[in-house]
Each structure stands twice: as structure tokens, then as C-alpha cells.
Symmetry: C2
Subunit: 484 residues, 2 copies
């Protein structure tokens, strides 16, 4: 395709995207296709001849749009905000259009230096320590894996340069909670620590945050048994309930054993743009690494996750490679981001952050985050004061975890809901909200019982959307009870 | 930014991209900025207020374009082709514009199923075994790491579910060559094997391919010493010389010791679209995994790397997580790509492959690949027959590794070039080609001596561009010799 063909098709695509974004409020939030339905609409073999652009564009409407959950919908309250702000989309388009290759600084100095500058902007905006340096990763899953690899190598004095983890005498241990994101257990497994060496520290029964005294006891017991505490993963804003592990209490404990402190603030990191929310990360200056995702609540289109580290020199030593075909005269003077993560070739992801911050401006982004926090507080207030409804966890951020627990009897049967019936009730009314298509929430297990997470923060979600959701939840729960 | 503001800015950006692509032949190929120059043009803090789009767009011209090496230039012969075909750029734009979130099948069925279908198209196009299944990774570095993690877990019967690699009695070993990509050594280190357990098997002095008999001896010696061969990494098309390790000879050796066979065809995978090039992967049906990068020679814009595996069930067992908030009624019926790699959240990368294949068509892509192979053969022929010039490695693909080794004396001095002077001469003339800005090549060490890699295959490179390069190389080498 030559530039003039691209120009023609590109203009059509821009109009398609603008029209699509404008009509999202009319689409069902949750995708309704059945397994195999999308694949069934596609031919079994690649086309030998070029197809006209109009045909491909038509398939976006016919196949793709009905095949995705509309996470940009104003009444999407599902897993977590996954905002793809149109300002950041422009930056991502520019990155694709440029087609730059970043394998070393030399191959594309601007890819490296715009990333350095924008990550410094965001460091300052979030109040992270001045000496920290950041890098863009695809997701927090990768960022946390990189952090746990760095922790492993610090604990073993760079065992990777010798016999690896398999040559180590005493097992390394990692500490977190059962409320940590699934990626933490995965990173522990992939980094070779072994799941038996992951300690899930007790959480407070009300706040769901790690209990510092339980961590202290676990560290002491492991050290006494000859094990080596290598890392503590602290979650600031857990996925389930947005619980905040007490970083300031945890850090001195971890330090006593030389353990790396990694902060997973994937969701909550955006809140650090608000000075009044900085308490979330109290004590962070003593940590070793922190990951957070602008591709969630902040709204920089997926994938864009940040990893900040206190000691870049250590990270580089763990990750570096330097074959001759990548050497250049400026080595040592510049940042080589290939040595800050797993991939060698890197996409120009900084461009979407740069566009996003410049085209929206920090103040408007802060205003939107505050709007969402207020909406969550409003909903929590409504739920708390409604008979039969409960808010199940502190509303630290923009997520409300709730349940409908009717005090009376089940209509027509005379029975009070037992645990099984309550679970069935919860899943039934949540599913009916989602099936109706006008809003979406996520059922989630909390203390072994099903609850519903309402995660507020889609870019287009305004108060009337939250009011409408609250009506829908009440109607759905009422209808579910009314079913025999 | 609302959809109408996006529409206006988007049309401007499309024109910008089309104009930029059209004028690339007039730009210097290699970026000329100095360390810190790009960063120095950016403000130290994020903007509080929104900036007009025109200002951001102007900065693309002022700061970004001069700050990247133009790998889409028709006379870019550097590291490797990194084609960003405009058809694939459209698909990537659509992915960003959609802003879908893929964390499970349910969150965006189309992201999963288009990926499954397109990877099946490409499996068929490249002649890989019918039973294999594929997944998109960001880069081959990540794909090879995933493969070596899968190998580790197979060799240890899922040690990750117990005490990890640190609980294993006998060390695992991995086999490759010094010509393997730097990411292989990195993956060995990160996966915890330890660099001492990576065996760099001897290569043939002419073909630079792994010597099967040396591999056999190394495997036997390690097994006899009580070590456990876990993986053999076979490179099909090495970065340095496009050497092809003899897969068909290697597989039975690896199998004898139960070692995983991973094929790194990052660059050469595209050639498998040509039936006449399938010899590259002779024997591949016996391998366990293969990675190749459509974001290189094929031309699907970065990042887009494919990982195919013979046993997806094993990969899933190594990589899976299943927290309650990600469970759904269709689990078991659908593919959950989160369990095929490291990240949970996945970008809709399949869309750019889908657009690329449909808008260009397979036949045109094959014709372009054949054009590049012919251009490489033509250049190799010219170099071989020119006095003082040598082709240093077999031209298996689209890369010619060459050196100017003047037989006579250095002009004016009476001295024949010794090894040091030959290195200086090579680097001098290569640098002068790159500094002139009309073409770009990559110096690379081969057998300890500097050579120059000419990697042909930019989408816009036609025969006259290669002819022009050959003139430039001869002029530069002549001028360098003429310098006292």
C-alpha cells in the first residue's frame, strides 16, 4: 500500500473510529457472541489477492464491534477502567505511522528520550522519589516479573551469571497476600522461586490489607529456618477490593531481611496524580520498584504500563546484553532501554503518553479522577443506606464492592437465603444486569462468597450513569428474588 | 477529547503520516541527533493545560522525525528489515481506536478469535505442522523466554508448582551457539538456568551453523556428568550471517535426551511463505516451539511476533492463572490467551496482521520477498566478482555479509593492511556511508574481525537502490583507503 492509498483509506478509518466512539452508548456493554461465532465468520485461509479497504472496514462493523465488550461505554463498570482516550489514540497512530525501530538508543534516539522525559513528567506528577527512573513495559504482569527477577538476582548476588537459581543452596522466599493480583503468583512461578516459596500473608478482615505483624512473623520464621526472604510484593489498591497494604509499616520489616520491596499500584497509580491521594503510597521512598498502568484509569490506550526503579544500575546489570551489531559510539552516554526489560525491539509507546498529557493536560485528567472518586463515594453512600444492601470493603478508590443480602424471606418459599442461595442470587442478578446490555459489573469472590464489584472510572462515566446503574442493580436484585 | 475533536485531529494526522511516508526517501537514513538533543527540546514538566493539536503535530516534524533512523527508507540496509506496511498501520490504528480490553476470551472474544484464525492462516502459509497452535507475543525475545520457561517446566515436571528451580537437584542445561541472538542468553539467564549452563556449541567455520556432531558430544558429556539437557535452541537465520542450524539433524539428538527444541526463526520466518525456501525449516515437525516476527521482513508494524507450540496444553499449564474475577461460564470452551504468555492484558495485535494480509494479499507479499532474495543474490554476485571485496558467509536469505580487503598496499604508505588497520578501514568506510545519510549498513563482528552486514528487505527497496548502495560502498572504501 503506497502513501496515497493509505491517505484515502486512513481518512475513511478516522471517520469510522469517530462514528464508532460516538455510538458506543447505544451498543450493548458486554459482548454477546458465543464461543466460535467470530471465528466462524472468517475464511479458513489467508486471501491470495488484495481485498478492497471497504470490505475490511465493513467487517469491523459486522464482526469486530459485536465481538468486543465495550469498555469505553459510559456504563461499563466491569473489571477495571480500561480507558483508551482519543488523545492517546492519536499518539499511538503516530507511532504506528512512523514505524520507527527502537532496539538501541542509536536506532531511534527520540523513542528513548521522549520516554525518559515523559516518565520523568509522570514521576513528578505522581510524587515518586526524585532519584527514581522509569521505563514503559507492556503490562504490570511483565513489570512485576521484571521486578521479581531483579529481586532474585539481588538476593543471589547475580546467580544468573553463574549456575542460576538451581545452584543456590537456601531457597528464596517471596511475600504477598491472597488479594495480590494473579500476576504476582505467576511471576513467582516463572522467575523460578516456586509457588511453595510464596507466602500469602494474612490480611486484616475489614480492610483486606496485609497485616504487618503477620508479615514480621513470617519473615522471622523463614529466616530462622534458613530460608532467604528475597522480596515483598506490596499491593496499593488490590484488584478485588482496592485494599492498600501498609507500605510504611512493611518497608522496615523487609529491609531488616534485605528483601526487595515491589509495589504493585497497577490500578491505583493514577490516583497518585491527586495530592490528596498520596497517602496511598506513604513510605514509597523506601521501596525498590513500583509498577502502575496508565492504560487503566488514566486512559492511555493499552498497552502502557510503567515500571519505576530506585536503582536502575542493578536492573540494567540483570537485563543487559551487548552483541557487536548493537554497539555504538555513544554507549555509556545514553539510556539503552533494551536493558530495562525483556524485549529487545520496542514500540514507540511514549508517544501515546506524550500526546495524552499534552492534548488533555494534567489538570483535566485530575478533574476526571476526582469525579470518579466522588461517584464511588456517592454510590457507596446509596448502597450503605439501602435496606438489604451492603458495602463489603472500604472504598479507598473508585471501586465499590457490594452485595444484596435480603433480610427477609425468599418470595413465595418462606425460606431465608442460605449461603448457597445467596451466591446464586448474587450471580443471578449480576448476570441479568450484564445480559441486559445497558451496564456491566463484575462478580467476584470475597471471603469465599460471591460479591459484585462496581469499578467506576470509564472516561465517559458521569453521575447520571452511576445513578442509572444503581437503579438497575436494585431492579435486578428485586426481580431475581421474585423468581421462584 | 471527544469524537468530533478526534475526527478533526485524526484527518490532520492521516495527512501527516501519508506526507511523511512519501518524503522518507529525501531524509537521511541514520538519525543524526546527539545524546540528549531530543530530550533537550522538551519541557521539564507535563503541561497543566491542554495544548492545540497543531503544536503537537509540529513537534513530530521538529523533534521526532529527525530523532529516528528511517528504517522505512528504501536505502535502509541496517540491522534487519523492520517494515511497517501501511496496510498493517491501518489495522493497528483500528485496534487503538477500538480500545478493546483483552484479559479473557469474554472481555473481547474477537481479539482472541481473530488471533486464532490469523495465526492459523499464517501457519498454513508457512507450512508449519497442522497440529501446531500460535499466539502473538511482543517480540521474539519474549517468545524465546516463554519457550525456555516451558522447557524448564517440562524438564522438572512443573517445579514451579513446588519449590521452583531452586529445589532441583541436578542442573538443567541449554544448548545453542555463539551466533544465536542475544535474547537467547538473556532468556537462559532470566529463566534461572544460569549462564554457566548455556553451552555454546561449535559452528561450522564456513556456514556458521551449529555442528550436529559437536552438539551430540556436548549432550552426551553433560548427561554422563549427571546434568539434565533441557532445551536446544536452533536458529534458522542467525542475526549475524543468516546461518541455518541443521534442524533435521539436531532434533533426533535433542529427543534422545528429552530436551525441548525451540526454533528461533525471528528473521527467517517470513521466508517460509515461499515454498522454495521451506528447506530452511526441514524437520520442524519434530520441534516443540518456533518463534518468528512478522514485524521484521514480512512488514506487520512492530510489535508483532508469533510463537507456535506443538503442545498448547503444556504451555497453558505453565502459564495459567484463574482468579475468580476472571472466571466465566465459557471457561474450557474457548482459548484464554492470557495463559499463553506473560501479560494478562493484551492489545488487539491480530488486527494489524488481519489488515496486512487482506489489504496486501499473500501473493504480493511473496513477490516482495522473492524480489529481496534476488537483490541479495545480485549484490553477492557483484561483491564476489569485485577485486578486493569478499562475501564472508553463505547468502541463505536477504543479508550479505561483506568486507573490503584490499590486496595491495595502503595508498602513500607502502603498508599492507594488518588486522587492526583492516578493522579501522572497515569501520571507517561503513561509518562514512552511514554519515552521508543516503544509505545505512551495519558493522558487525565476525570471527573477531569487523565486517559489514547489508540486510536487504525494506518494503520500498528496489534493484536501483541496491545498485546505488553498491556504488556507495565502493566509493566509501576507496576514499577511506585514500586517507593517509
Amino acid at each position: 500500500m503506497d502513501p496515497e492509498e493509505f491517505r484515502a483509506a486512513g481518512h475513511e478509518l478516522i471517520d469510522w473510529i469517530a462514528d464508532y466512539r460516538a455510538r458506543i452508548p447505544q451498543l450493548p456493554v458486554q459482548a454477546r457472541v458465543k464461543p466460535g461465532e467470530v471465528a466462524g465468520k472468517l475464511p479458513g485461509r489467508a486471501p491470495e489477492e488484495a481485498e478492497p479497504f471497504g470490505q475490511v472496514l465493513a467487517d469491523l462493523d459486522r464482526i469486530v464491534v459485536p465481538g468486543v465488550t465495550q469498555v469505553q461505554h459510559p456504563r461499563y463498570f466491569g473489571w477495571f477502567p480500561s480507558n483508551a482516550s482519543l488523545s492517546s489514540v492519536l499518539g499511538d497512530m503516530a507511532a504506528s505511522g512512523l514505524g520507527a525501530l527502537s532496539i538501541t538508543w542509536q536506532s531511534a534516539p527520540a523513542v528513548t528520550e521522549v520516554e525518559e522525559v515523559v516518565l520523568e513528567w509522570l514521576r513528578e506528577l505522581t510524587g515518586l522519589p526524585e532519584s527514581w527512573r522509569g521505563v514503559i513495559q507492556d503490562t504490570a504482569s511483565t513489570g512485576s516479573l521484571v521486578a521479581l527477577l531483579a529481586a532474585r538476582e539481588r538476593a543471589t548476588d547475580y546467580s544468573e551469571t553463574r549456575g542460576g537459581l538451581q545452584a543456590e543452596a537456601a531457597p528464596l522466599t517471596v511475600y504477598s497476600t491472597q488479594h495480590a493480583h494473579s500476576s504476582i503468583g505467576k511471576a513467582v512461578a516463572l522467575a523460578g522461586y516456586g509457588q511453595d516459596n510464596l507466602r500469602l500473608i494474612e490480611v486484616d478482615p475489614v480492610s483486606y490489607a496485609m497485616r504487618a505483624e503477620s508479615l514480621a512473623a513470617a519473615l522471622e520464621a523463614d529466616a530462622a529456618a534458613g530460608l532467604r526472604p528475597a522480596a515483598v510484593v506490596v499491593t496499593v489498591g488490590t484488584t478485588g477490593t482496592t485494599a492498600v497494604d501498609p507500605l510504611a509499616q512493611i518497608i522496615p520489616l523487609a529491609r531488616r531481611y534485605g528483601a526487595w520491596v515491589h509495589v504493585d499500584a497497577a490500578m491505583a497509580g493514577s490516583a497518585l496524580l491527586l495530592p490528596e491521594m498520596r497517602w496511598l503510597a506513604d513510605g514509597v521512598a523506601g521501596a525498590d520498584s513500583l509498577t502502575w498502568n496508565p492504560h487503566k484509569w488514566l486512559g492511555t490506550v493499552l498497552d502502557c504500563s510503567l515500571l519505576y526503579v530506585a536503582d536502575p544500575g542493578h536492573l540494567i546489570r540483570v537485563m543487559s546484553t551487548n552483541p557487536s551489531y548493537l554497539r555504538s559510539a555513544v554507549d555509556g552516554e545514553v539510556t539503552q532501554y533494551k536493558d530495562w526489560g525483556i524485549p529487545l525491539g520496542r514500540r514507540f509507546r511514549a508517544l501515546k503518553l506524550w500526546f495524552h498529557l499534552r492534548l488533555d493536560g494534567a489538570e483535566a485528567i485530575r478533574a476526571r479522577l476526582r469525579r470518579d472518586l466522588e461517584n464511588a463515594r456517592w454510590l457507596a453512600g446509596q448502597v450503605s443506606s439501602a435496606p438489604g444492601w451492603r458495602v463489603l470493603a472500604p472504598v479507598n478508590l473508585q471501586t465499590v464492592v457490594l452485595r444484596h443480602e435480603p433480610a427477609g424471606t425468599v418470595s413465595g418459599t418462606g425460606a431465608v437465603l442460605d449461603a448457597g442461595a445467596l451466591n446464586a442470587h448474587t450471580l443471578a442478578w449480576a448476570d441479568s444486569v450484564n445480559a441486559a446490555g445497558t451496564a456491566m459489573v463484575t462478580p467476584s469472590l470475597l471471603d469465599g462468597t460471591w460479591s459484585v464489584r462496581v469499578s467506576i472510572g470509564a472516561e465517559r462515566t458521569e453521575r447520571p450513569d452511576v445513578e442509572e446503574l444503581w437503579k438497575l442493580l436494585q431492579q435486578a436484585a428485586g426481580s431475581s428474588l421474585a423468581q421462584p
